[in-house]
Symmetry: C2
Subunit: 462 residues, 2 copies
């Protein structure tokens, strides 16, 4: 990035809002993939108009523009893989409006998801999507990847709550999409086209969110099974019975083993699966659902059931699930973390496949996650410095993807494609559909400046 460009960037931003020192650029070089690519500069805009000006400049000089929320993405969406200018939303994190009567909020994209949730709580309101990273991830990043979380089984994902956008196109125009009402079908649904587009079609500058009333009560259960198949069968039965938990998470045998030493009361050695189940709603509703659920489970008579009596016990029941991410990296220094989705009824097939795969490729593979919607987190553990092991890991990843697709599943439920899955996109998306997506990309971003190298398969697998 030459001096002329930097000078023009400073003219748009003011000199305190353009970072060029190595240390500053390094801070925007990484994300949760563990990979790192240094940008040429980092912009800290405060207004939509500044962003539009930055994008126009990028078109003029043809440098890449990489939108960055909190850098917590799991597939490389925020990585400046081809250098260029990172546009950080760190100074655009205001809550612009909370309309309690209509249960609508308008926010800037840099706002941390958990901060919004805390602010809404004061008003008795809730924004449901709850990615594991909610204490530090940004709503703009959530929108770019269409983030999910445990509550998706009851409440759905980011696309179900973002109803309108202000966005800067890759060509510099400022568009306004969607509505600030519950319903709206006027013109093409640009809002949902942009949600999940991973920063490749436009930069979000405002988000309009629909909210729900904050549930008054919650109950938490932990179920221990000696058979994973029994656990996943129960998941389908719970949902078919009309019970609608707001959490329905499972952990397989390997995941349990990984966290065992960290638990205050670890499960018995023969436990092959854990299910964490929660209900929320009014006090009466939760009491009624809990009663119905307990009766349902006891009648099955194939697991042991614990219900949390208070906040402290709730934290204890969540301990195993919450320990997985920190625990796994003590097993092996690196992981290939995938978030595949299979039809719920195929979860046992997937887990059996993973056990065979781990055996065959001599790898530690564990699975856990959102059993209720079939969105399974698979962690393939390895040491990347061992090239041969890394190769086996990549082989496992490809075989996992092919198996998931053979079950009618999909490569990602909430992480997106980014760079880590881009090479596999053609496994899932057929040629005319992929061609159409690529033509959309070219329509939106004729000079290819916006987050280049993402989603489409033109980079090596990592």
């Amino acid at each position: 990035m030459n001096k002329q460009i930097l000078k023009e960037l400073r003219a748009i931003l003011g000199k305190d809002s353009l970072l060029t020192a190595w240390e500053e650029r390094a801070c925007c070089s990484y994300d949760a993939t563990g990979q790192s690519f240094l940008p040429d500069a980092v912009a800290l805009p405060e207004t939509t108009e500044q962003i539009a000006a930055l994008v126009r400049l990028a078109n003029e000089y043809r440098f890449p523009v990489i939108p960055r929320g909190a850098g917590s993405g799991a597939t490389g969406g925020a990585l400046p893989v081809k250098g260029g200018l990172v546009i950080s939303f760190n100074r655009m994190r205001r809550i612009l409006e909370i309309d309690t009567a209509n249960m609508i909020a308008v926010v800037e994209p840099g706002l941390v998801t958990g901060e919004l949730q805390a602010a809404l709580k004061q008003h008795g309101l809730m924004y449901p999507p709850d990615p594991a990273s909610l204490k530090f991830c940004s709503l703009g990043g959530n929108a770019a990847e269409c983030a999910g979380g445990p509550s998706a089984v009851k409440y759905g994902v980011t696309r179900d709550y973002i109803i309108g956008l202000e966005a800067v196109l890759a060509t510099g125009e400022i568009i306004k999409t969607g509505v600030r009402t519950e319903k709206g079908v006027v013109g093409y649904d640009l809002t949902r086209l942009l949600i999940g587009s991973e920063g490749t079609l436009a930069l979000f500058t405002k988000l309009i969110l629909r909210l729900l009333p904050l549930p008054a009560a919650k109950s938490t259960f932990l179920l221990s099974f000696s058979s994973l198949a029994e656990a996943t069968k129960l998941v389908a039965e719970i949902l078919s019975a009309g019970l609608l938990p707001c959490t329905l998470e499972y952990m397989d045998r390997t995941a349990i083993a990984a966290v065992r030493s960290r638990l205050s009361s670890p499960p018995a050695e023969d436990v092959a699966a854990l299910l964490l189940v929660e209900f929320d709603g009014s006090t009466d509703e939760v009491a009624q659902q809990s009663k119905q659920f307990t009766a349902f489970v006891e009648q099955k008579n194939n697991c042991s059931l614990r219900q949390a009596a208070n906040e402290e016990e709730t934290t204890e029941l969540w301990q195993a699930r919450r320990s997985i991410s920190p625990a796994v990296l003590s097993l092996r220094p690196h992981k290939i973390a995938e978030d595949v989705v299979v039809p719920r009824s195929n979860i046992p097939d997937l887990v059996a496949f993973l056990e065979r795969l781990a055996d065959e490729l001599q790898l530690l593979i564990l699975s856990f996650g959102h059993a209720g919607d079939g969105n399974i987190h698979v962690n393939i553990m390895l040491d990347k410095s061992n090239k041969e092991e890394h190769q086996r890991g990549l082989q496992a990843k490809e075989r996992l993807f092919r198996f998931v697709l053979s079950l009618g599943g999909t490569l990602s439920g909430e992480h997106g494609i980014g760079i880590t899955k881009a090479a596999f996109l053609p496994l899932e998306i057929n040629p005319p559909t992929l061609e159409l997506m690529w033509r959309l990309k070219q329509l939106f971003d004729p000079n290819g400046i916006l987050n280049p190298g993402k989603v489409f398969p033109d980079l090596p697998v990592t």
Copy 2:
């Protein structure tokens, strides 16, 4: 349409599947707008490949292709306004699969919504969207317009239940979008871009639907108010209290007057608004919600409350709401029927505006509909043969739209734009956003063969 085209159409379809007689074409000339445009021919394809071949031919000879479900649309989406070939989905109405374990169905677009719902009931499952026309409208049409219905307040609209599509592009390629799992974020969200695109971007040939368990119970309440403002205030309070009805419909004073003579037990003369409220769920849940709701309403002490004790009384409580559409056309021969949406808290403002507008323009205007999500049906009654009255009606429509937008609302919640609102699109969508939509249309349909004259403002207002 010349003989050569007809010959090639017959070669694709077989001679029994191409209709060219006037009577046959007339059957595909109208929809619920009351307008009529004769197509040159009607195709009755049975396969995706036939549709792809038809579309390729249309590109070669540049004739319009108009997809048609059941012709029940309210904004002219299925009208062959520029002649051409109607592609009727009348012979593509199969349920291809009901996967009860994963609560997924795969259907053809010609299937009638109510027929699917009846079939699912046998499996204890539900497809929630319930447009008023559900006994005769098609799922393909619902997808094209993103149909809603009373249950949207609890369950959402068509876009929340269609998770994948097979579609034929305007250039003849067959694409497959989305997933058959609860979650999925792989590539751009073409599914939701196509839902609500009103037949202008692609022709749907298969729909993948997510389903819910059929609720075991339902309770129905009718509330009578002497003040509409009190009724709509209660709507917001009900939802903010965490009560989630599956029906939350209102009728204003004029709508009540219109149906009065048709009711077995008409409301008292001083009733200014009716609210129809239903809860569904498990028997326990419904009992609990009904109890909470009754206590909530009685504490307000500003309305009279009736609960249906049985199926017969439920039908009676629905009688007023269900009578509106047949009743209004006995008041005046024609109506301009709009489905605007305003923030819930602004419903009283909208209704007060409508009363002023009716006075000022000397028109009969009534409103009713989905108070829970602010999606209000406004019927401007008139006799179109009286040109001066028709002009006043069109004036009322434009003033309605401008007022709705001034409240932060939107022109359509579930009917779409079609031809009847196309001229007003620029009131809601700003120039760069509309320009982007138009460029999308050109990308998808370079020769403009697919449902021309719809959505974009190039036709006179009707």
